[in-house]
Amino acid sequence: MKKLLFFAAISVITISAAAQDKYFTKNGKILFKCTKSPLEKIEASNKGTTCVLDSKTGNMQFAVLMKGFEFERALMQEHFNENYVESHKFPKAEFKGQISNNSEINYTKDGTYAAKVKGQLTIHGVTKPVETTGTVTVKNGKIIAVADFTVQVSDYNISIPSLVSDKISNTVNINVDCNLEPLKS
């Protein structure tokens, strides 16, 4: 009996240690566009997104530094940080959510799977629910997670002055593209 329990304990410990069920990256890409007028392209990218995915539960989290968004034009970048997202007050945007159809994804088999993602997105200190459908591609033990979704600027307590409202769209298209690697604990 003693031995049996001992073995049971050992096996539990080894299982939890061997399970590589978490994946992560620190340089995922996020691109957003809020162009309204064809004359002025307003888009920015950030190549330093942190993303962690727990394949067992489907839980996923993103964090990105607002100051890391790079615009084509320096002035736009300054206005983005200073006037719109106020990155000194709210340095990070975060997403905390879950792949709701996680059971349909086989993380051990290469292939592309549709993933329904649902969660809470925090930008500019405001948290709102978001929902989208993306894809999870499993390839050689690595995961490529891609998703597109839109948010409304006004939902996040960011005001666009009327002077520039013909240039900046209230609807922002966000594209997320992360190459995740197994997290070794």
């Binding site: 009996m1 003693k2 539990v12 939890s16 978490k22 942190t50 790079e70 034009r73 975060e94 604990s185």
Partner: protein
């Protein structure tokens, strides 16, 4: 059996921990909370406080076209439309070469002066990892008067047209609202008007910004001259005003006793006195153009 109980309780603890771990903050696993080095930017709205260089740089690939106006003295009265009938101006192009290096050229109507400078940021204020409490910049510039010689009969040297200035800017963005900087400066003139005028004038400047709203800030710009010519009726230059940002432009509206819009002129030739009300209204317009675009 006691030992058995211990094992069971250990097991249940292990199971319990893995169960609660589902709700953990995944980002903590990858050390996302580690402090990162972060440069402190946007201490001033533009690369000038009002008349002086600020601790801000123009970003690489950006051309800043600036038009500076100074009107006549407000106390000239209604006949001169409170100075607005008389205006001098300086037009300039500043260009950002790298993150820490910029150059500029300008032409003033006052004394038909051409000026140019190079500005380099040696230390960039930062926070987080490797914190740096201040920014340190160096500016070197020269001015050239293109006026006709006042006495063409005597031997005039080309070098007499030239003057030089060197400046160190020590600045700190104290908070999102307040930025402060000190500017020890030296101006060298090859030709001075009288024997009382120092060839090398030393001055210490101070500049400050108080941000009033997202798009408006209040600025002060002042120089204390250490060795002025006491007899030529010039004063320490002081400018106070507002920066107003409207999309692509920055407007700087201010009141000043400074004459001229380059370091040599406003430090050595400001004949106006604030205490007598010899104040001029002035405004600067800055418009930036992104010449080289960043690739996404």
């Amino acid at each position: 059996m006691n030992f058995q109980k211990i094992i069971i309780s250990l097991l249940s603890v292990a199971i319990f921990t893995t169960a609660t771990a589902q709700d953990e903050d995944l980002l903590k696993l990858v050390g996302d909370d580690e402090p990162k080095k972060e440069y402190v930017d946007y201490a001033f709205k533009s690369s000038r406080v009002i008349m002086s260089h600020s601790m801000e740089m123009i970003r690489p690939g950006v051309l800043d076209f600036r038009i500076l106006h100074r009107f006549g003295n407000i106390n000239d009265g209604a006949y001169e439309f409170f100075g607005l009938d008389n205006a001098t101006m300086r037009m300039s192009f500043d260009f950002g070469i790298t993150k820490n290096l910029m150059i500029g050229v300008g032409r003033s109507t006052n004394q038909k002066e051409l000026d140019g400078f190079i500005k380099y940021r040696i230390i960039h204020q930062s926070k987080g990892k490797g914190v740096m409490p201040f920014s340190l910049l160096a500016v070197a510039g020269s001015t050239m008067s293109l006026l006709k010689w006042s006495d063409p009969t005597r031997k005039n040297y080309f070098t007499s047209r030239m003057a030089y200035y060197g400046q160190v800017i020590l600045g700190r963005k104290l908070s999102e609202v307040v930025s402060l900087q000190l500017m020890p400066t030296i101006v060298h003139r090859n030709l001075v008007p009288t024997a009382n005028d120092p060839s090398d004038m030393i001055a210490v400047g101070a500049g400050a910004r108080i941000k009033m709203s997202k798009r408006i800030s209040f600025n002060v710009d002042y120089y204390y001259r250490v060795n002025p010519n006491e007899t030529d009726g010039t004063f320490n230059p002081l400018s106070i005003g507002f920066d107003i940002e409207t999309g692509g432009h920055v407007f700087q509206l201010h009141f000043t006793n400074a004459i001229g819009m380059n370091e040599k002129t406003f430090l050595t030739q400001s004949t106006n006195d604030w205490s007598k009300g010899d104040i001029q209204f002035g405004f600067n317009i800055s418009r930036t153009f992104q010449l080289k675009k960043k690739k996404n």
